[in-house]
């Protein structure tokens, strides 16, 4: 008896004009797992992330989050269902302060103006259907918007409480990632490593179930990398997360991933525990000739 997977990707394909960026990829991630996603440059890793968050609409296949189909859903609905991510090339709200960045991440969790509509919808194939869906959501949207604006203008006690709790929570999150005391600095003024950590805090603020990390240790020195690995493990325990991470450093993959999925040219070429994947001939072939492949083959025994 296996538990119901948190994420189930079936036959996912994405085609950009002539290029097949993802070619019927299947992937199943059980709750609580840290899953590594590796592959050479251009293998489709980030494309897969973009599909999982609703940024791209896949041209084929399906994505189920805890049994709910999320492919083709608008991004904010996917986020509301509990998918959060960080970006390979850090994308913070550069001109907002550190704590504001986290508060934006917490947008959905701040009960101002009643709950935003969380009705997951069927995927919209046509622009026309999309417009119709927008119109259908209009009355509810108008009401919740009016309540939100009125709340912001009048500031009733409930509003203040919600805002205060959100600020408190944002501070705790910042503390958890080690950014205490930096709340009022502009995000763009943070050093690189701190920007990565802020991205993490911002993603956590939305109370995700599934956290997607796009190269969380890119550009970090060995010390920082170790600290980040530690942080990821700790956050998983603390917040009960399921994590998928794209990673190029084999050390990180071996160190914290329970299972690894390998993509090459948009196809899944291997999947399994890191040690098994490492020995997989297909994987070695995909990487062969690169520096990375040598590191991989010589990397036996390195944690």
């Amino acid at each position: 008896m296996s538990v119901r997977p948190l994420l189930e990707v079936r036959g996912l394909s994405v085609r950009f004009q002539g290029l097949l960026a993802l070619d019927s990829v299947d992937m199943t991630v059980p709750p609580g797992q840290i899953r590594g996603l590796i592959g050479p440059n251009g293998a489709g890793k980030t494309t897969l992330f973009n599909c999982l968050t609703g940024f791209y609409r896949p041209t084929g296949g399906s994505i189920l989050l805890d049994g709910v189909r999320i492919d083709g859903m608008p991004m904010h609905h996917v986020a509301a269902l509990g998918v959060a991510r960080t970006f390979q090339n850090i994308r913070l709200f550069a001109n907002m302060t550190v704590i504001e960045n986290v508060l934006v991440g917490a947008h959905r969790t701040i009960p101002v103006g009643g709950p935003d509509q969380l009705r997951p919808r069927r995927r919209h194939e046509q622009r026309l259907a999309e417009v119709a869906a927008q119109l259908r959501g209009l009355p509810g949207g108008v009401v919740s918007s009016l309540v939100e604006i009125a709340g912001a203008l009048v500031r009733p006690p409930a509003w203040i409480r919600a805002e205060r709790e959100a600020v408190e929570r944002a501070r705790r999150l910042l503390e958890a990632v080690g950014l205490r005391g930096r709340e009022n600095e502009l995000a763009r003024n943070l050093p690189y490593g701190d920007q990565r950590r802020l991205e993490l805090a911002r993603a956590l603020a939305s109370r995700p179930r599934l956290l997607l990390l796009d190269e969380p240790t890119a550009g970090m020195n060995p010390g920082e990398t170790l600290a980040m690995m530690d942080l990821i493990r700790r956050l998983r325990e603390e917040y009960g997360l399921t994590i998928i991470l794209i990673e190029h450093q084999m050390r990180v993959v071996m160190g914290i991933c329970e299972e690894v999925t390998v993509l090459d040219y948009g196809r899944k070429i291997a999947e399994g525990p890191p040690e098994a994947v490492q020995r997989d001939p297909a994987v070695i072939e995909a990487y062969l000739g690169t520096k990375f492949a040598r590191q991989l083959r010589g990397g036996h025994g390195t944690p």
């Binding site: 904010h76 709200f93 550069a94 009022n184």
Partner: protein
């Protein structure tokens, strides 16, 4: 009692001066009509400045907060003005004789509705499309106003628009009374827009301005919030229109041209996007000064600058004496004020480019406010990272 402090927006002690300043400024503004020097023509100019402060603050929500370029703001201004005109002018077919105070909330609604209808098809798309569609829509509105003669009075317009009655008193008509009306409105709009900015909705707007895709990934319904910014800004513009129509008493399509949109945009951009005081300053410099330059008093003062003209004109005069053809000469000083006022749009255009290139945040960029905290612990010294430069944008 942090609750109360947050609610009243009582700042930590060190910020008190910053909070007292606006209050002091408002008191100062309130005293202006009591100064005998400021005669009715002055107060009329100040009303105009105040009106543009209101419009600027409204557009600021759209452009400054949410980062959406609206080039047809005049449409909402016209919507409010014509609502007032149609419902109170005896020349309109639907003269319901509604009072000003009934129309004001109606205008708020109408403005928001027009904004919603205009934004709905365009806002789901990229920002630049909004700019061109609003630009065109401003023009369409003018065509509609001229051509829907039965309702709008065509190019004749509508006259004898009602003034706001004050219960137990008279109707507001004197320039000093209007001055207070616009002052109260401007302060109210400034206060309310600051509250929106400091709430969840304001953060959502800023996030959209900074990076729309990431904002969506954070769970923000970007289309909804863009629509809200657009509709809120439109509602403010519409209220400005009601005030304008009631103040001026008659309206026709010539008051609702592209120039109005340009004026408001220039006030917001040159003053400083997102910044209330920037808008006030921008409105004074861009709207008030050109009007004041046309005052008799101004030309009287300028007249004394004859020496400056002689100095400036010297090279031209020398050339004129030598050349067989007429050479351009520096005009009489008393006409300088009018000259600048006449060429204001050329100056606005150049300023928009210059300000954006030199200081993309406007002359007075919005200062980042701090959320209130108990004294934050000293931040650790940032370790210099070789990658910091490459990684951050």
């Amino acid at each position: 009692m942090p609750d109360l402090r947050l609610w009243l927006k009582v700042p930590p002690r060190r910020d008190v001066a910053r909070r007292l300043l606006p209050a002091a400024a408002v008191v100062l503004f309130a005293l202006v009509p009591a100064v005998p020097f400021f005669t009715d023509p002055w107060l009329r100019v100040f009303f105009l400045v105040g009106l543009y402060v209101v419009l600027g603050l409204g557009l600021n929500i759209v452009v400054g907060f949410a980062g959406l370029l609206d080039l047809g703001y005049v449409a909402f201004f016209a919507a409010g003005a014509y609502l007032m005109g149609i419902l109170t002018s005896p020349q309109s077919p639907v003269d319901l004789r509604l009072e000003f105070w009934v129309i004001l909330p109606l205008a708020l609604l109408l403005g928001a509705l027009v904004g919603l209808l205009l934004g709905l098809p365009v806002l789901p798309l990229r920002g630049d499309y909004l700019a061109i569609v609003t630009l065109g829509f401003g023009e369409i509105i003018r065509i509609l106003l001229v051509n829907l003669r039965d309702i709008t009075g065509g190019s004749q317009g509508l006259a004898a628009i009602e003034k706001p009655p004050v219960p137990g008193w008279q109707r507001i008509d004197e320039p000093w009374q209007w001055y207070y009306v616009i002052l109260v409105t401007a302060v109210a709009v400034a206060f309310l827009s600051a509250r929106l900015r400091d709430a969840r909705i304001g953060r959502a707007w800023e996030a959209i301005r900074e990076d729309e895709d990431v904002a969506a990934a954070m769970g923000i319904d970007t289309v909804k919030y863009k629509l809200l910014a657009f509709a809120t800004g439109a509602a403010v513009g519409s209220v400005g229109g009601v005030l304008f129509a009631s103040y001026i008493g008659f309206i026709n399509p010539t008051s609702f041209t592209l120039q109005v949109s340009i004026n408001v945009l220039a006030v917001v951009i040159i003053g400083g996007m997102g910044n209330t005081w920037g808008v006030v300053f921008g409105a004074f410099i861009l709207i008030g000064v050109p009007e004041l330059l046309q005052f008799r008093e101004t030309s009287d003062v300028l007249e004394r600058l004859g020496w400056l003209r002689t100095a400036l004109d010297a090279p031209f005069a020398a050339l004129d004496a030598l050349a067989p053809f007429g050479v351009w000469r520096v005009p009489e000083p008393e006409t300088w004020g009018r000259l600048v006022a006449d060429k204001r749009f050329i100056i606005y255009g150049a300023l928009l480019v210059a300000v954006m290139v030199a200081r993309p945040g406007g002359l007075f960029p919005s200062r980042r406010r701090k959320l209130e905290f108990e004294a934050p612990p000293p931040s650790e010294v940032a370790e210099p990272s070789a990658l910091a430069a490459g990684g951050s944008q």
